[in-house]
């Protein structure tokens, strides 16, 4: 039974065999940095896509442009702005790490050190950054109207 199936199929494509996927792989931190790099890259691309469209509206009519920009002045979009800064900052810092891994002879040796330090820099920038970006929204929403 197994011999007949082996004859009809190629060496790497035998009966019942499947290239297995699906189980969770608890990979190196380097793998998760790569996953996050892709996600932040795609998010940034979507932002740029929308950004090109809304800026191009100015050529349609300045009024239409103003109307669209007006819809951005909401607490929810403010949160999206914080997320955008976070995504771009991570993508930029990890991009530098990947460049160093590619072109610096000792880059592979220090990849984890570089990863933890870029996360450190990210937190140091994002904590005050988030404060100043959300300050106005929060005070307008909850500040009791000064």
């Amino acid at each position: 039974m197994s011999t007949s199936t082996a004859e009809t199929a190629g060496a790497s494509d035998r009966a019942g065999a499947a290239r297995r996927s699906g189980t969770f792989y608890r990979g190196d931190p380097g793998m998760w940095s790569w996953v996050l790099h892709r996600i932040t890259g795609v998010l940034t691309f979507f932002f740029l896509f929308v950004h090109v469209l809304d800026t191009a509206l100015v050529r349609v009519s300045p009024n239409a442009y103003d109307e669209v920009i007006e819809t951005y002045k909401t607490p929810f979009v403010n949160l999206l702005e914080v997320a955008l800064v976070g995504a771009v900052l991570y993508h930029a810092l990890n991009g530098i790490r990947v460049i160093l891994v590619d072109f610096w002879a000792k880059g592979t040796q220090y990849q984890k050190v570089m990863l933890w330090s870029l996360i450190g820099v990210w937190v140091i920038v994002m904590v005050p950054g988030t404060y100043f970006m959300l300050e106005r929204t929060v005070s307008e929403l909850f500040g009791g109207g000064n």
């Binding site: 039974m1 197994s2 060496a11 790497s12 494509d13 035998r14 009966a15 019942g16 065999a17 499947a18 290239r19 297995r20 996927s21 189980t23 969770f24 792989y25 608890r26 990979g27 190196d28 931190p29 380097g30 793998m31 790569w34 990947v98 891994v101 590619d102 072109f103 880059g107 592979t108 040796q109 990849q111």
Partner: protein, 258 residues
């Protein structure tokens, strides 16, 4: 097949030496003649802290279910036969000790064992290594030298030998290649192991085939598919700096410097 409760296996026949603790071994099992999909089965087995995961598998095979299929040869971390995914990462079953897997605070320990990813599973923990060796053969992993053979040995300085020392350690266990997300997604990528073995000859001062091998690895499915996720470096049971070797091959291609 009838649905059997996961812990229905009678593991009482497994000898439990003094000092052993009962741990649960969850194995992703697959029998191509009965199953369409792999499924998890649990075995409660006694284990000594000094046992290796391979001992647990053998106890299950010898005392509980003789149909459990896995590969091993030397069982001492030399031959590279028993690479498998243990607790979510690729390791040799003969090199992982139970004491390093025990749960803290005396909680019940569960060890999950699955076949390595990206290669076709033939049965249980046993995979078809042929695609892996195909990629290995494709990089010409042997000395290429032209001209007259020297009358004595091919002399090499210690510094020149040191240049590729790290990549001579490979035992072709496939732990690195099957830990690579790029290889999971696309099996036509050469994979880390093939590049490591190309590196071993590319940077060998006695070898004259570097150009050929670099040409092969410059292919669309070659070295440029590497995304430096470092899973391979983490998985290598011999401690080879796999990603470093791949990056050196990339730089050799970029700067024409070997």
């Amino acid at each position: 097949m009838t649905a059997v409760a996961e812990n229905a296996h009678d593991t009482s026949q497994i000898p439990a030496p003094e000092g052993s603790v009962t741990i649960t071994v969850k194995i992703l099992r697959f029998n191509p003649e009965l199953d369409t999909e792999p499924h998890w089965e649990s075995y409660d087995v006694p284990a000594l802290p000094t046992d290796r995961v391979l001992n647990l598998l053998f106890n299950i095979k010898n005392y509980v279910d003789g149909t459990l299929a896995f590969r091993r040869s030397c069982a001492h971390g030399i031959c590279g036969s028993d690479a498998m995914q243990i607790n979510g990462i690729n390791r040799l079953a003969c090199k992982v000790l139970v004491k390093d897997l025990l749960a803290k605070d005396g909680k019940r320990t569960t060890v999950t064992v699955a076949p390595i990813k990206g290669l076709p599973t033939m049965k249980d923990l046993y995979v078809d290594m042929e695609p892996f060796f195909e990629a290995y053969r494709a990089v010409k992993p042997y000395l290429i030298a032209y001209g007259n053979e020297p009358t004595r040995e091919r002399i090499q300085s210690q510094a020149d030998r040191e240049r590729f020392d790290d990549t001579t350690k490979c035992i072709l266990c496939a732990a690195c290649t099957s830990s690579c997300p790029v290889y999971w997604a696309d099996g036509s990528y050469f994979g880390p192991a093939a590049i490591v073995n190309a590196h071993r000859f590319i940077f060998d001062s006695r070898d004259e085939g570097s150009e050929e091998r670099l040409d092969i690895l410059n292919d669309a499915e070659g070295v440029w598919r590497c995304r430096t996720t470092f899973n391979c470096t983490d998985a290598c049971p011999r401690g080879i700096q796999v990603t470093k070797a791949i990056q050196e091959v990339k730089r050799a291609l970029l700067f024409k410097r070997v």
